[in-house]
């Protein structure tokens, strides 16, 4: 990020970096940086807070006014509106899942399919309310993505392209779409919720989270180094033990 700013300025274009990690901005010494005290993933502070987002942009653009360069690092003085990442708001998912009593090698895939069916009405609410979805990184629909991921528990797929992508990337993208489906469905209801609550719910309260963790563990022993890399680095957040 700060490196890009360096190259753009060197090519004659003025820049402002909105920086989420202050220590990095200090170390790299971008020409102009506005440090914002927001959680990772939210450089403009909070979703659906147009006035606040504009305030952040205005503060960033003010750094383009004549100043004491060539290195300016300014702190944005306000916290983002809404709950903090780790705040407990007592949010609950609109769907409560029955405990799975299915046993045997098909159990995780079947339980996952049932869970997705249970969430589908809320995913539809999300589609209706938001008018769009961020699901679609993989070329699979959600049920196919779920079965593809769960299939790793049974046997890792042969090393041949899946929807024109290597197995490792198909695993990463299918996992991402699965998470997007769950997050969008679970957060379809308006109201106060923190990102940490939604993350914890997914990883500790759903079959999908458990399946992803189990698949990850299995793939750490994969003979395919790229599958192993995806499992080690790209499937489980560090806050959840990844």
């Amino acid at each position: 990020m700060c490196g890009l700013a360096h190259f753009f300025e060197d090519e004659g274009i003025s820049t402002v970096v909105i920086a989420l990690v202050r220590e990095h901005a200090e170390a790299i010494r971008a020409p102009r940086a506005l440090w914002v005290p927001f959680e990772l993933g939210r450089p403009l502070g909070a979703p659906n807070e147009a006035a606040f987002q504009r305030k952040v942009l205005t503060a960033a653009l003010e750094l383009l006014d004549p100043s004491e360069g060539p290195v300016v690092l300014r702190d944005f003085p306000e916290d983002a509106p809404g709950p903090k990442a780790e705040e407990v708001t007592n949010w609950v998912c609109p769907v409560s899942f029955p405990a799975s009593d299915i046993e045997g090698p098909e159990a995780p895939a079947a339980a996952l399919a049932r869970e997705i069916d249970a969430l589908a009405p809320w995913y539809q609410v999300s589609l209706d309310e938001r008018g769009r979805t961020r699901v679609g990184v993989s070329s699979m629909g959600v049920p196919e993505a779920a079965q593809f991921v769960a299939g790793f528990l049974d046997q890792e797929p042969a090393n041949r392209p899946v929807h024109d992508q290597p197995v490792s990337l198909a695993l990463k993208d299918a996992s991402a779409d699965l998470m997007s489906f769950y997050f969008e469905a679970a957060t379809a209801q308006p109201g106060r919720k923190s990102s940490g609550e939604v993350e914890r719910w997914f990883w500790t309260g759903t079959t999908a989270g458990q399946v992803l963790k189990d698949v990850r563990l299995k793939c750490l022993d994969s003979a395919d180094d790229k599958v192993k890399f995806v499992a080690a680095k790209l499937m489980l957040p560090k806050s959840m033990g990844g």
């Binding site: 959680e39 993933g41 979703p47 504009r54 383009l64 990442a85 806050s239």
Partner: protein, 154 residues
């Protein structure tokens, strides 16, 4: 958030261990005045348009083009990291790519205009690898008469 001390220890350790570039020069271009600003957004959020080839691991420091006219619903996040919040972006792309806000600022005269094209790189890319594509992109930005870039991470 976010000072490193606020993060879980493993994430702190990861971010502290990231190789950070240092540069021998300190380029500095005087910023244009408000009404003269034609602003582009460049993000490292790993965004791409629905249906186009997503970013690929090990494919180098590639970037994707996001037209100012792109439908928000067609902008997807394909970032490799799972260590940041995605629910904000799922709710409102402006929390990462504040294109709607820039358009409002142009209408209100706070900036001169919004670039026709905006760009996304994949974060977590070695900064050394970024240089050729960044310089290539600078030429495209200048072709679009952009004189101010706002860079956003995730």
């Amino acid at each position: 958030m976010v000072r490193l001390a606020d993060l879980v220890e493993s994430e702190q350790a990861h971010l502290r261990a990231l190789p950070l570039p240092t540069y021998k020069t300190m380029p500095w271009v005087a910023g244009p005045s408000g009404p003269e600003r034609r602003v582009a957004l460049v993000t490292t959020a790993g965004l791409n348009l629905r249906g186009e080839q997503p970013f690929r691991m090990g494919a180098g420091a590639d970037y994707r083009v996001i037209p100012a006219t792109a439908d928000s619903g067609d902008i997807l996040m394909n970032h490799v990291s799972v260590n940041f919040d995605r629910t904000g972006f799922q709710d409102d792309m402006n929390v990462v790519l504040p294109l709607d806000r820039l358009k409002e600022m142009a209408v209100d005269g706070e900036i001169g205009s919004v670039a026709a094209y905006h760009y996304s790189f994949m974060g977590a890319t070695d900064p050394v690898m970024l240089e050729p594509k960044a310089r290539e992109l600078a030429g495209m930005l200048k072709g679009d008469a952009v004189n101010a870039v706002i860079l956003t991470p995730v």
